[in-house]
Amino acid sequence: MADLKPGDAIPELKVTPDKYLPHRYAGASGDFNPIHIDEEFARSVGLPSNILHGLYSMGVVAKAAAQGLAGGDPRALKKLTVQFRGMGLPEQEIDVTGTVKEVEGDRITVALEAAQGDNRIIRNAEAELEL
Protein backbone atom coordinates (compact mmCIF):
# COMPACT_ATOMS: atom_id res chain seq x y z
CA MET A 1 0.00 0.00 0.00
CA ALA A 2 3.09 2.21 0.00
CA ASP A 3 2.14 3.51 -3.44
CA LEU A 4 -1.20 5.06 -2.39
CA LYS A 5 -1.48 8.76 -3.08
CA PRO A 6 -4.13 11.48 -2.70
CA GLY A 7 -6.83 11.20 -5.35
CA ASP A 8 -6.60 7.41 -5.69
CA ALA A 9 -9.95 5.62 -5.64
CA ILE A 10 -10.34 2.76 -3.17
CA PRO A 11 -12.04 -0.47 -4.33
CA GLU A 12 -15.78 0.04 -4.59
CA LEU A 13 -18.07 -2.03 -2.35
CA LYS A 14 -21.58 -2.94 -3.48
CA VAL A 15 -24.06 -4.71 -1.23
CA THR A 16 -27.82 -5.19 -1.43
CA PRO A 17 -29.47 -5.58 1.99
CA ASP A 18 -32.35 -8.04 1.63
CA LYS A 19 -35.85 -7.49 2.99
CA TYR A 20 -35.03 -9.00 6.39
CA LEU A 21 -31.56 -7.48 6.82
CA PRO A 22 -32.89 -4.76 9.19
CA HIS A 23 -34.38 -7.49 11.39
CA ARG A 24 -31.13 -9.41 11.56
CA TYR A 25 -29.21 -6.19 12.21
CA ALA A 26 -31.69 -5.31 14.99
CA GLY A 27 -30.94 -8.67 16.61
CA ALA A 28 -27.18 -8.31 16.20
CA SER A 29 -27.03 -4.72 17.45
CA GLY A 30 -29.90 -4.63 19.96
CA ASP A 31 -31.57 -1.66 18.22
CA PHE A 32 -35.22 -2.66 17.76
CA ASN A 33 -36.59 0.80 16.92
CA PRO A 34 -39.80 -0.08 14.98
CA ILE A 35 -38.99 2.37 12.16
CA HIS A 36 -36.39 -0.23 11.08
CA ILE A 37 -38.38 -3.45 11.41
CA ASP A 38 -42.08 -2.62 11.15
CA GLU A 39 -43.17 -1.39 7.72
CA GLU A 40 -46.66 -0.44 8.92
CA PHE A 41 -45.30 1.59 11.84
CA ALA A 42 -42.72 3.27 9.59
CA ARG A 43 -45.44 4.39 7.15
CA SER A 44 -47.57 5.66 10.04
CA VAL A 45 -44.80 8.14 10.94
CA GLY A 46 -44.40 9.29 7.34
CA LEU A 47 -41.54 7.12 6.13
CA PRO A 48 -41.67 5.42 2.70
CA SER A 49 -41.17 1.99 4.35
CA ASN A 50 -39.06 0.58 7.14
CA ILE A 51 -35.59 2.08 6.77
CA LEU A 52 -32.06 0.77 7.27
CA HIS A 53 -30.30 1.49 10.55
CA GLY A 54 -27.86 4.36 9.98
CA LEU A 55 -25.26 2.49 11.99
CA TYR A 56 -25.67 -0.53 9.68
CA SER A 57 -24.86 1.70 6.70
CA MET A 58 -21.90 3.08 8.68
CA GLY A 59 -20.84 -0.54 9.26
CA VAL A 60 -20.87 -1.12 5.51
CA VAL A 61 -18.68 1.99 5.03
CA ALA A 62 -16.29 0.71 7.74
CA LYS A 63 -16.13 -2.63 5.94
CA ALA A 64 -15.39 -0.93 2.61
CA ALA A 65 -12.50 1.01 4.17
CA ALA A 66 -10.95 -1.94 6.06
CA GLN A 67 -11.47 -4.42 3.22
CA GLY A 68 -10.43 -2.08 0.44
CA LEU A 69 -7.23 -0.84 2.07
CA ALA A 70 -6.20 -3.26 4.81
CA GLY A 71 -7.32 -6.73 3.71
CA GLY A 72 -10.05 -6.62 6.35
CA ASP A 73 -7.61 -6.24 9.27
CA PRO A 74 -9.81 -5.05 12.18
CA ARG A 75 -6.86 -3.14 13.72
CA ALA A 76 -6.44 -0.83 10.74
CA LEU A 77 -9.44 1.47 11.19
CA LYS A 78 -8.61 4.15 13.77
CA LYS A 79 -11.35 6.67 13.21
CA LEU A 80 -14.54 6.92 11.19
CA THR A 81 -16.83 9.93 11.06
CA VAL A 82 -20.05 10.10 9.03
CA GLN A 83 -23.11 12.23 8.40
CA PHE A 84 -26.43 10.48 7.89
CA ARG A 85 -28.64 12.18 5.31
CA GLY A 86 -30.98 10.37 2.92
CA MET A 87 -32.77 7.35 4.38
CA GLY A 88 -31.45 3.93 3.40
CA LEU A 89 -33.97 1.36 2.21
CA PRO A 90 -33.88 -2.45 2.18
CA GLU A 91 -33.74 -4.26 -1.18
CA GLN A 92 -31.77 -1.49 -2.88
CA GLU A 93 -28.09 -1.74 -3.70
CA ILE A 94 -25.71 0.31 -1.56
CA ASP A 95 -22.63 1.53 -3.40
CA VAL A 96 -19.69 2.67 -1.25
CA THR A 97 -17.00 4.72 -2.97
CA GLY A 98 -13.92 6.36 -1.53
CA THR A 99 -10.93 8.50 -2.44
CA VAL A 100 -7.60 8.85 -0.67
CA LYS A 101 -7.30 12.36 0.81
CA GLU A 102 -3.99 12.25 2.63
CA VAL A 103 -1.08 9.89 3.21
CA GLU A 104 1.26 10.49 6.12
CA GLY A 105 3.68 7.65 6.81
CA ASP A 106 1.52 4.60 7.56
CA ARG A 107 -1.55 6.72 8.30
CA ILE A 108 -4.03 7.29 5.52
CA THR A 109 -7.17 9.43 5.39
CA VAL A 110 -9.97 8.48 3.00
CA ALA A 111 -13.14 10.36 2.02
CA LEU A 112 -16.12 8.03 1.56
CA GLU A 113 -19.73 8.09 0.53
CA ALA A 114 -22.55 5.51 0.46
CA ALA A 115 -25.41 5.87 -2.01
CA GLN A 116 -28.47 3.98 -3.20
CA GLY A 117 -28.84 5.26 -6.75
CA ASP A 118 -29.06 9.06 -6.49
CA ASN A 119 -29.86 8.89 -2.79
CA ARG A 120 -26.64 9.56 -0.89
CA ILE A 121 -27.36 7.91 2.46
CA ILE A 122 -23.94 8.63 4.00
CA ARG A 123 -21.97 11.63 2.93
CA ASN A 124 -18.88 13.48 4.11
CA ALA A 125 -17.56 10.29 5.65
CA GLU A 126 -13.91 10.28 6.58
CA ALA A 127 -11.89 7.27 7.66
CA GLU A 128 -8.40 7.19 9.15
CA LEU A 129 -6.49 3.95 8.85
CA GLU A 130 -3.08 2.74 9.97
CA LEU A 131 -1.63 0.32 7.46
Binding site: G27, A28, G30, Y56, K63, P74
Partner: protein, 146 residues
Protein backbone atom coordinates in the same frame (compact mmCIF):
# COMPACT_ATOMS: atom_id res chain seq x y z
CA UNK B 1 -38.78 28.66 23.08
CA UNK B 2 -35.28 28.43 24.47
CA UNK B 3 -33.68 25.04 24.27
CA UNK B 4 -33.29 23.27 27.61
CA UNK B 5 -29.58 22.79 28.25
CA UNK B 6 -29.53 21.63 31.89
CA UNK B 7 -28.16 18.21 30.96
CA UNK B 8 -24.94 19.51 29.36
CA UNK B 9 -22.03 17.91 31.23
CA UNK B 10 -24.20 15.23 32.82
CA UNK B 11 -22.91 11.64 32.93
CA UNK B 12 -24.99 8.51 33.33
CA UNK B 13 -24.12 5.29 35.20
CA UNK B 14 -21.70 3.02 33.30
CA UNK B 15 -22.77 -0.28 31.81
CA UNK B 16 -20.54 -3.35 31.51
CA UNK B 17 -20.86 -5.74 28.59
CA UNK B 18 -19.26 -9.18 28.35
CA UNK B 19 -18.08 -9.78 24.78
CA UNK B 20 -18.71 -13.30 23.47
CA UNK B 21 -17.67 -15.28 20.39
CA UNK B 22 -21.20 -15.98 19.15
CA UNK B 23 -22.24 -12.32 19.33
CA UNK B 24 -19.15 -11.31 17.33
CA UNK B 25 -19.98 -13.99 14.72
CA UNK B 26 -23.57 -12.81 14.55
CA UNK B 27 -22.56 -9.18 13.98
CA UNK B 28 -19.88 -10.06 11.39
CA UNK B 29 -22.33 -12.34 9.54
CA UNK B 30 -25.00 -9.63 9.27
CA UNK B 31 -22.43 -7.19 7.87
CA UNK B 32 -21.05 -9.82 5.48
CA UNK B 33 -17.55 -9.52 6.96
CA UNK B 34 -15.70 -12.71 6.13
CA UNK B 35 -12.27 -12.44 7.77
CA UNK B 36 -11.83 -15.67 9.82
CA UNK B 37 -10.39 -13.70 12.78
CA UNK B 38 -14.04 -12.87 13.62
CA UNK B 39 -15.17 -16.52 13.50
CA UNK B 40 -12.35 -18.86 14.37
CA UNK B 41 -10.28 -18.69 17.54
CA UNK B 42 -7.23 -20.36 15.96
CA UNK B 43 -7.23 -17.88 13.07
CA UNK B 44 -7.61 -15.01 15.55
CA UNK B 45 -4.70 -16.24 17.70
CA UNK B 46 -2.54 -16.82 14.62
CA UNK B 47 -3.15 -13.15 13.75
CA UNK B 48 -2.02 -12.05 17.22
CA UNK B 49 -5.35 -11.64 19.05
CA UNK B 50 -6.21 -13.12 22.48
CA UNK B 51 -9.42 -14.61 21.11
CA UNK B 52 -11.97 -14.02 18.34
CA UNK B 53 -11.78 -10.27 17.65
CA UNK B 54 -14.72 -7.90 17.08
CA UNK B 55 -15.02 -5.82 13.89
CA UNK B 56 -14.57 -2.11 14.77
CA UNK B 57 -18.27 -1.24 14.31
CA UNK B 58 -19.21 -3.94 16.88
CA UNK B 59 -18.88 -0.89 19.16
CA UNK B 60 -22.61 -0.29 18.63
CA UNK B 61 -23.42 -3.53 20.49
CA UNK B 62 -21.87 -2.46 23.79
CA UNK B 63 -21.99 1.34 23.64
CA UNK B 64 -25.67 1.81 22.73
CA UNK B 65 -26.63 0.09 25.98
CA UNK B 66 -24.86 2.86 27.89
CA UNK B 67 -26.26 5.62 25.68
CA UNK B 68 -29.94 4.63 25.91
CA UNK B 69 -30.56 6.03 29.43
CA UNK B 70 -29.02 9.35 28.32
CA UNK B 71 -31.20 9.54 25.22
CA UNK B 72 -34.39 8.88 27.19
CA UNK B 73 -33.54 11.08 30.21
CA UNK B 74 -36.36 13.65 30.72
CA UNK B 75 -33.70 16.15 31.80
CA UNK B 76 -32.31 15.94 28.24
CA UNK B 77 -35.87 16.11 26.94
CA UNK B 78 -35.33 15.22 23.28
CA UNK B 79 -38.45 15.17 21.14
CA UNK B 80 -38.21 11.73 19.53
CA UNK B 81 -41.01 12.46 17.06
CA UNK B 82 -38.74 14.80 15.09
CA UNK B 83 -35.32 13.37 15.99
CA UNK B 84 -32.84 11.99 13.48
CA UNK B 85 -29.38 10.52 13.99
CA UNK B 86 -27.41 13.21 12.20
CA UNK B 87 -23.80 12.18 12.59
CA UNK B 88 -21.46 9.74 14.23
CA UNK B 89 -17.78 9.46 14.97
CA UNK B 90 -15.86 6.56 16.49
CA UNK B 91 -12.18 6.59 17.42
CA UNK B 92 -10.70 3.18 18.12
CA UNK B 93 -7.73 2.27 20.30
CA UNK B 94 -7.25 -1.27 21.73
CA UNK B 95 -8.95 -4.15 19.84
CA UNK B 96 -11.96 -5.80 21.53
CA UNK B 97 -11.91 -9.60 21.80
CA UNK B 98 -14.22 -12.31 23.07
CA UNK B 99 -13.87 -12.55 26.85
CA UNK B 100 -13.34 -8.82 27.32
CA UNK B 101 -15.55 -6.91 29.73
CA UNK B 102 -16.18 -3.49 28.25
CA UNK B 103 -17.38 -0.68 30.49
CA UNK B 104 -19.01 2.28 28.76
CA UNK B 105 -19.92 5.68 30.18
CA UNK B 106 -22.12 8.23 28.40
CA UNK B 107 -21.93 11.99 28.83
CA UNK B 108 -23.84 14.90 27.32
CA UNK B 109 -21.28 17.11 25.56
CA UNK B 110 -23.48 19.89 24.20
CA UNK B 111 -27.04 20.97 23.42
CA UNK B 112 -27.24 23.81 20.92
CA UNK B 113 -29.74 25.42 18.63
CA UNK B 114 -28.66 25.96 15.02
CA UNK B 115 -31.05 27.36 12.42
CA UNK B 116 -34.08 26.37 14.47
CA UNK B 117 -32.95 22.78 15.04
CA UNK B 118 -31.64 21.27 18.27
CA UNK B 119 -28.23 19.55 18.14
CA UNK B 120 -27.73 17.08 21.00
CA UNK B 121 -24.21 15.69 21.21
CA UNK B 122 -23.31 12.75 23.45
CA UNK B 123 -19.99 11.03 24.03
CA UNK B 124 -19.48 7.40 25.01
CA UNK B 125 -16.16 6.21 26.37
CA UNK B 126 -15.50 2.47 26.49
CA UNK B 127 -12.65 0.83 28.43
CA UNK B 128 -11.61 -2.83 28.76
CA UNK B 129 -10.89 -4.81 31.95
CA UNK B 130 -7.33 -3.42 32.09
CA UNK B 131 -8.73 0.12 32.09
CA UNK B 132 -7.41 0.77 28.57
CA UNK B 133 -9.64 2.82 26.30
CA UNK B 134 -10.99 0.79 23.37
CA UNK B 135 -13.24 3.31 21.66
CA UNK B 136 -14.72 6.76 22.01
CA UNK B 137 -17.99 7.59 20.27
CA UNK B 138 -19.50 10.98 19.47
CA UNK B 139 -23.23 10.79 18.73
CA UNK B 140 -25.06 13.76 17.16
CA UNK B 141 -28.86 13.75 17.25
CA UNK B 142 -30.78 16.47 15.48
CA UNK B 143 -34.26 17.45 16.62
CA UNK B 144 -36.05 19.43 13.94
CA UNK B 145 -37.98 22.55 14.87
CA UNK B 146 -37.16 23.31 18.50
Amino acid sequence: MALKTDAVGKSWPSTTYQVGREKIKEYATVLGIENPVHFDVDAARAAGFRDVVAPPMFVVVYSMRALAPAMFDPEVGMNFATMVHGGQTFEWAEPVCSGDEITTTARCVSIEEKLGNGFYVFETTSVNGDGAEVVRGTWTNIVRGV
